[in-house]
Symmetry: C2
C-alpha cells in the first residue's frame, strides 16, 4: 500500500529540476492565476520541499515574472507564426483578430490582466509586461505597415494604430473573462472598428454583414 508514497524526492539534475519547477509554476498560473504561484504551492505540486523551489529561484517575484514572460511569449510567437503563412496584409490582420477573439486563449488573457495589477508591486514583472507588450505591438505594426505599403490600408500612423488594435483586443478579451453573454458577433464588430481605424473598406477584413 505504500507503493506510491515517496518519502524523499528522487535526486535530479539541477537543470531538470529547474525545468520541472518552471513547468509546474506555469500550469498553476494558467489554472489559478499568477498569485497562486507560491513556494509551498509549487513545491507541493512538484512533490518537493518548499525550500527547494526557493533554492532554484532568486525570489518568488522573479519566478512570477519569468512565468509570465514564458506564457505570453509563447502565445505571441504562435500567433505570429500563423500570420506569416498568409499572403496579404488584409488577410493577416483578419486572421489576427479572428484568432485573438476566438476565446481559446482566455487563460492567457487572465494572466495579462493580473500582471497589469501585480506589476504595481513587482518591478521585475512590470518590466516583463512592458517587454511583452512591445513584442506584441511589433507584430501588429508589421502587419499594418505592410498593409499601408500594399495600398490596402489608409493610415499614416502604424505604430499608434498597432497599439490601439492591441488595446482594443485586450479590453474585449478581458471583458469576456467576466461577461460572455450579451455580446454577439464580437469578431465582426471588432473587424468593422479596425477597418474604420485602419482605413480599410467596410467588410474587407471579415466576411459577414456590414451593419
Amino acid at each position: 500500500m505504500s507503493s506510491t508514497i515517496q518519502k524523499r524526492a528522487a535526486r535530479k539534475t539541477p537543470a531538470e529540476r529547474a525545468a520541472e519547477i518552471t513547468e509546474t509554476a506555469k500550469e498553476i498560473a494558467l489554472e489559478q492565476g499568477l498569485s497562486a504561484i507560491t513556494l509551498r504551492n509549487v513545491a507541493a505540486r512538484v512533490g518537493v520541499a518548499s525550500g527547494l523551489v526557493a533554492h532554484y529561484q532568486p525570489n518568488v517575484d522573479a519566478l512570477v515574472a519569468g512565468i509570465f514572460a514564458t506564457i505570453v511569449a509563447a502565445e505571441t510567437e504562435e500567433v505570429s507564426g500563423l500570420l506569416d503563412r498568409l499572403p496579404t496584409p488584409l488577410e493577416r490582420l483578419g486572421m489576427l483578430l479572428e484568432t485573438l477573439m476566438d476565446g481559446s486563449r482566455l487563460d492567457v488573457t487572465a494572466i495579462w490582466v493580473e500582471a497589469w495589477t501585480l506589476g504595481r508591486r513587482n518591478e521585475a514583472l512590470a518590466a516583463c509586461v512592458r517587454e511583452q507588450m512591445d513584442a506584441w505591438q511589433a507584430v501588429v505594426q508589421r502587419v499594418v505597415e505592410a498593409g499601408i505599403g500594399a495600398g490596402e490600408f489608409d493610415t499614416f500612423d502604424a505604430p499608434s494604430v498597432a497599439w490601439q488594435i492591441l488595446g482594443m483586443v485586450d479590453g474585449l478579451n478581458a471583458q469576456a473573462l467576466v461577461r460572455w453573454d450579451g455580446v454577439s458577433d464580437r469578431g465582426t464588430h471588432l473587424a468593422r472598428a479596425v477597418e474604420g481605424m485602419v482605413g480599410a473598406a467596410r467588410g474587407s477584413l471579415l466576411p459577414g454583414q456590414a451593419g
Copy 2:
C-alpha cells in the same frame, strides 16, 4: 507636545463612523488599489482599532466589493450626467470617448482591472463588477440607440456595439496604465474605430485628421 496624541478615538455615531471607514477605504483603494484594503490598514488611517473596522462590516470581501461599487458607480453617474446636456447622439458619443480617454480617470481604471482579477476569489466583488458593467453598458447603449433613431448611426445591434465600445475603452485605458508613451492621438484613432463600428461618417465623431 502631546497635543495631537489621542489615546482613544472619540466616540462617534455608528453612521458617522461607518461613513468615515468607508471614505477612508475608498481613498486607500484609489491610491494603492483594492487589495490594500485591509482591516489594519484602514484602521490605522482612520485612527482606530482594527476590530472596529471589522465591527462595521460583515467581512473584508464585502467591504472591498462595496468600495468598488461606490467608486465605479460615481464615475458612471458623473459621465452619464455630462452626456445628458448634449443635443445629438453624435456629440454625446464623441464626448463619451473624449472623456473616458482623457487620462483623468486612470485611478478608476486601475480599480476596474484589479476587480476583474480579484473577482475570481471574491464572489461578492464579482457580482458588483457584473452589475457595474451592466450599468455602463446601459448608458452607452442608450446613446447608440438614439443615434440609430436619429439616422446618425448605421448599425442594427446596439447592445453588442455598446459592449464593444466599453471593452475597447477599458482595454485602451488599461494599456495606458502600463504604457503611456508610443501612442499618440489615442482619442482620434479610437474615434475612427468607433465610427467604423457604428457606421458613422469618417471624421464625424471627432474633429481632426481622418487618416
